[in-house]
Each structure stands twice: as C-alpha cells, then as structure tokens.
C-alpha cells in the first residue's frame, strides 16, 4: 500500500493511508500514514459504528495538513469489539457434530449439503436485513459451489474438474462464496457474536464446509507439481486456522 502512496504523490496528488502493519510502513516510508491497531481485514475498525469509523477517517485525512513528511502517526484507540474474549456461536439450526478423524469414511457430502440447506432460511434473512450479499464472486449459487468442491474431493472425478481449466480461480472463488454464505447466514441470527474470532471459531472448528475446504487443501498438497498446488499452500485455509487440522 505504501508503494502506491509514493507513486500517487510523485504524480502530484497528495496521498494519505491507513497502515495495518506498522513495521512495513516504517520501511516503505510513504508520505502520510495512520497506523491503526485493528486486525487485518478491518482497516476502519468495526462494522456498524459510524462514529468510530468517522473518527479514523478524520484522523487519516487530517494528515494532509502536515507541512513536512513523511508522517506516521498512531491511532490511539483499539477497535470497540476487540476487548472481549471470543464468544461461542450458538446456531439454532443443529449441525451433525463433525469428527475430523472419521469424516472421510462418513457420508460427508450429504452432511455438507444438509448444512447448506439448513442455513438457507438465515441466508435469505441476511439478504433482506442487510440489503446485500457478498456471495457471487464465483458466479455459482451455493449449491453449485458445493457440488464443484465435492467433485474435486471425490477422487474419481477430480481429473475432469481440473481439466476444465482455471481450476485455481474456480475452486478458490467457490470456497470464498461458501464461507460468505455461512458467515452471512449465522451472523444474521439474533444475539450472535459478530467479532471475527468467534465467527472463525465456529466456521473452522465446527462446520463440515471447513472440513471440505481443508480436504481440498490436503489433496492439493499431495500433488506439489500440479497447477493447483498453490491452492493447498496458500489460498484455502488461513494460517491462523491451520492448527485445527494438524
């Protein structure tokens, strides 16, 4: 991000930026930056808190009033929802308990489809109350995304999927849409925690969707020379969640 600040400034447009990793900004020395103590993915701190978001915005835009640079300032407050411990997500739809040691020999694909089905009411509620969905990057509906992932895991048809080309992007986008579907559905339910750690604990720790995504990661790692190997190395399971599957 800081590199772009250099480029815009050199073109005569003042740049100011949010910094999420202070040490990177210290090294790159962009013209103006406000380091914020928020997690990656939340540069304005917290959802649905316009006053807090505005306080960050005023501070970062105000840096253009400095006469000399480079400027690197620290935002003084943590995000409002970062102080508590993660809370359990209590899903009113009952998922069959996941047992990672036994999943592969179980009827996992049917259980996976059942999860998707039982969340569908809450997905519709989410779209209604938020007037948006963030799914759609894959241009598949969630059932089609699930089918693509199931076919990849089922060894006998994996070759067919791979040969269809651009497998990395297709699988990755289907996984992103799937996660968005789950997160939107569960966070639309009344009384659920909305912080990232609580939602991650639920998705990666409890859902069969996460098991399927990790299974794809494992398959990709078994074929290090294949064109989809990068999926397994980098693009499916966050580093913070890998420990759950090791």
């Amino acid at each position: 991000m800081g590199g772009l600040g250099h480029y815009f400034e050199s073109e005569g447009i003042a740049s100011t930026q949010i910094s999420l990793v202070r040490v990177h900004t210290e090294n790159i020395k962009p013209p103006r930056a406000l380091w914020v103590p928020f997690e990656l993915g939340r540069p304005f701190g917290v959802p649905h808190d316009p006053e807090f978001q505005l306080s960050v915005l005023r501070k970062v835009l105000g840096l253009t009033e400095h006469k000399k640079g480079p400027v690197l300032e620290d935002f003084p407050e943590d995000a409002p929802d970062s102080k508590g411990s993660p809370a359990p997500v209590v899903c009113p739809v009952s998922f069959q308990k996941r047992d990672d040691a036994k999943e592969q020999t179980s009827n996992w694909s049917e259980d996976f489809k059942t999860e998707i089905r039982v969340l569908s009411n809450w997905y519709e509620v989410s779209k209604e109350i938020r007037n948006r969905t963030t799914t759609g990057v894959s241009e598949l509906d969630v059932e089609e995304s699930a089918d693509l992932l199931i076919r990849f895991v089922e060894e006998e048809t994996r070759g067919t999927v791979i040969d269809e080309g651009k497998v990395v992007d297709r699988i990755r986008r289907a996984c992103e849409d799937l996660k968005a579907y789950y997160y939107e559905s569960v966070s639309a339910q009344p009384g659920q925690p909305t912080d990232s750690q609580s939602l991650s604990n639920w998705f990666w720790g409890e859902t069969r969707a996460a098991w399927v995504i990790n299974r794809i990661r494992e398959i990709c790692l078994e074929e290090p020379e294949s064109k989809h190997a990068i999926l397994g190395k980098l693009l499916l399971v966050p580093r913070t969640e890998l420990h759950r599957f090791q």
């Binding site: 590199g3 772009l4 447009i13 100011t16 993915g41 915005l57 253009t64 009033e65 966050p238």
Partner: protein, 153 residues
C-alpha cells in the same frame, strides 16, 4: 487479535518477512486543508462491481467504482484468505468507507468526494502497479482530485 504481537507466531513471522519496496526518498506535496480536499478512495481489497472481472493471482490492474455505488453492487475477489472478511460482509464501510466519506462531504468537513474510486488486489507487488497509478492519477486530476486515501485490507 489486533496488534502484530497478538498474532500467532507463524502469522507474525510471515508478515515480518514479507518483502517491502524501498525508496531513496519520499515525495511530499504541499499541505491540503481538509475542507479543500476532493478525495478518491484507493483500496487494495480486491473490490469490484458485481459482474466486473474478478481479480486473479498476480493481477496488477484496477477496477473502477463510481461514487454512488450502493454496497450491494460490490463484491470482493482478493486472492488471500489470511484476513478477516466477516467485518466487510456486515458493513462495507469497514474496508471501503464510501458512505463515511460522503458523510464528511455533506457535513462540510471535506470539500467533496471524487466521481470515481478504485480498487487493486493487494497481494500483487506494488512495483507492478506503478504504470496503472500514473494513468489513474492523470484521470483523477481531470476530476479535480487532490487527495487519495489509500486503504489496505
């Protein structure tokens, strides 16, 4: 889980080892009072209009986002899985504060909001984006933009 020291060791080490571009000096233009700013947002979250080309591995180009784009017209196709998306799916302003920027303009705290905003996909090396930025800056200047707000994810 907000500060670098609070991340698990593997994540912290990965972030610390990421290569950063270096520059001999820092360009620095004249000060601009907030009330005179015409602001364009530049995100690296891999955002784009629904139906526009999704970002893929190594993409260094950008996607335009008109000023009055409602949140339900935007999707995110950033390739990284290592940042939180649950804030974004609850409220676009957590990553792309277009509504908040419009709030400041309505209140008279900034001059105005640019006609167009843009997003890159931040997993690509910034050096590959330089020529795109030069082109983009030229268009922004024609729109009277004097301030860009760069927002990582």
């Amino acid at each position: 889980m907000a500060r670098l020291e609070n991340y698990p060791e593997a994540v912290r080490n990965h972030l610390l080892k990421l290569p950063c571009p270096t520059f001999d000096s820092t360009p620095f233009n004249r000060p601009i009072p907030m009330k005179e700013q015409r602001v364009a947002l530049v995100s690296t979250a891999g955002l784009h209009l629904r139906g526009d080309r999704p970002f893929g591995l190594g993409d260094a180009d950008h996607r335009l986002i008109p000023r009055d784009t409602p949140a339900n017209r935007l999707v995110m196709s950033h390739i990284s899985t290592n940042f939180d998306r649950t804030g974004y799916l609850q409220d676009l302003n957590v990553v792309f504060p277009l509504e908040r920027l419009n709030d400041l303009a309505r209140n008279g705290e900034i001059g105005s909001v640019a006609e167009y905003h843009t997003s890159f996909m931040g997993a690509t090396e910034p050096e590959k984006m330089e020529s795109t930025v030069v082109e983009l800056a030229s268009v922004m200047k024609k729109d009277g933009v004097n301030t860009v707000l760069l927002v990582p994810v």
